[in-house]
C-alpha cells in the first residue's frame, strides 16, 4: 500500500477526523452514544454502508449526470441501507431489533454523502473504498469513545455490564444521569476536540 493510500486510512483518524475536525455526523454522535454496544454496532454498519456506496458511486462516476448527482448519491445510500436492513431482518432478527431506528439514521449521516460528493465522485474504486473505510473508522472511534464515557459515568456500566462495584455506590456514589442526555454528548465531543487541538497544533485556526 502506497503512502498516499495509507493516508486515506490514517488521515480521518486524526488530522481530518469527520467528527472532531469536519464536525460532520454530530447528530448521530449525540443520539446513539448512550450505550457502548449501540455505538459499536452503529460504527460497523456505517462502515459497511460507506464502503459499499463509495465503491458504487466511484464505479458510476463517469456516467452520473452532474445536475442530479446528489439525488443519485442519495438513492444509492438509501438503497444500500434498506438492503442491509432487509437482510438483517431475515437472517439476524435480534441484531436488527437491537439497531431498530439506527439503521435508517445512517441515510441521514452527513459523512456518508459528504464522502461520496467530495471523494468518490473524483477518485478510483480502490481509493474510494479505502476512503470509506478510513472515514467510517474515524467516525467510529470518536463515537465509541464518547459512548464509553457516557455509559460509564451515566449508568456505571460498560456494554450493559456493571463495572462500578457495589461498595462505591454504598459509600454514596451516584450515577450522573445528566450524562445520558444529549447535551453531555456535545460537551464530551467538545472536550475531545479540545484535547486533540492541544496535542495537534496545526488544527488550530490562525486568527
Amino acid at each position: 500500500m502506497s503512502n498516499k493510500n495509507r493516508a486515506l486510512l490514517s488521515d480521518p483518524m486524526d488530522d481530518n477526523n469527520p467528527i472532531t475536525v469536519q464536525v460532520l455526523g454530530i447528530c448521530s454522535a449525540l443520539a446513539i452514544t448512550v450505550q457502548l454496544k449501540a455505538a459499536i454496532v452503529m460504527s460497523i454498519s456505517v462502515m459497511a454502508v460507506m464502503a459499499a456506496s463509495n465503491v458504487i458511486i466511484s464505479l458510476l462516476r463517469d456516467l452520473i449526470p452532474n445536475r442530479i448527482r446528489i439525488i443519485v448519491q442519495l438513492v444509492v445510500v438509501a438503497a444500500m441501507v434498506i438492503l442491509v436492513d432487509q437482510v438483517l431482518r431475515a437472517y439476524a432478527y435480534d441484531v436488527s431489533k437491537e439497531l431498530s431506528i439506527f439503521i435508517g439514521l445512517i441515510i441521514t449521516n452527513c459523512i456518508v454523502m459528504g464522502r461520496l460528493e467530495a471523494f468518490a465522485l473524483g477518485n478510483g474504486v480502490w481509493r474510494s473504498f479505502l476512503d470509506g473505510i478510513g472515514n467510517a473508522a474515524g467516525y467510529g472511534w470518536i463515537l465509541i469513545l464518547v459512548a464509553f464515557f457516557r455509559e460509564l459515568l451515566g449508568s456505571g456500566k460498560l456494554g450493559g455490564i456493571q463495572v462500578i462495584p457495589d461498595f462505591i455506590y454504598e459509600m454514596g456514589y451516584v450515577d450522573n444521569g445528566l450524562m445520558l442526555l444529549s447535551p453531555m454528548a456535545l460537551i464530551t465531543v467538545g472536550i475531545i476536540i479540545w484535547i486533540q487541538r492541544s496535542r495537534n497544533r496545526k488544527l488550530i485556526e490562525q486568527a
Binding site: 443520539a31 449526470p65 442530479i68 431475515a90 431506528i101 445520558l180
Partner: protein
Amino acid sequence: MNRDSNLYTFLFATIMVFVVATVLAFTSQSLKDLQSENVRKEKMQNILSTVGIIIDRDGAEELFDKYIDGQLAVKNDGSIDTSVDVFNNVKLSLELKKNPKDQDFPLYVANIESEKFYIIPVRGNGLWNAIYGYISLKEDLNTIKGVVFDHVGETAGLGAEITQDWFVERFVDEKLFDSDNNLMGIKVSKTNNDPNNSDKNDHEVDAISGATITGDGVSDMIKERLEHYIPYFNTLRSNSIALN
C-alpha cells in the same frame, strides 16, 4: 452522449430508478417469508415470556401450542367473536382504528400446570412512535403475573429501557383493580414514594429518569387497553361467583 444534456439526465434517472426498484422489490419479496416467520415466532415468544416461560425463538412455537389453550376475540360489550383467527388475523393496531362495535380484542388463555393466566396485548404511543407489549393476569383477573414491553423507536438508553428486565419486573404482582373492581391501571410515576416497590396495592411503579413521555405512554396504554375487557371480565367474575 453529452453527459449534461436533458435527454441523458432523464435516461439515467429512469434507468437508475428502475434498477434500484427491481433490486429492492426482489430482495423484499424473497426475504418476506423468513421475516414474517421471525415476527410470528417473536410474538409467541413475547406471549410466553409474560407467564414466565423464557424460550429462544426457534422453540417458541412448540411451547406456545402446549401452554396456550384459548385464543379469544373479545368484543367491547363482553361477547366473544368466534369468527376470527385471533393469533394470525387480529392486529391490535388495526382494531384500534375501527368502530367500537366492530373491534375485536385478543385474549390468550394460558394453562400452565393447572394454573390459569389471561394474557392481554397492549398498544399505545411513546414519545416517537408506537409502544406495545403483553400483560398476563392471574386467575383473579387483577394481579399481574408478568409483562413484556417493546417499542418501535424510543430513545436508546431512555425510553427504550422499558424493554429491560429491571423495569418490567416492577409490574409483577401489582394490582390493576381496586377493591371495588374499578380499573385503576398501573401508573408509571415520577412521584412514587415506594422505590423498592414493596407496596403492591398502590397501582404505581417507579418511572425511568429522562423517559417521562414514554412512561406516561405505558400508563395510558395499560389503562386504555384494559378497559375493553372489563365487560368480559365482569361476566367471568359473576360466573365464578355463581360456581362457588
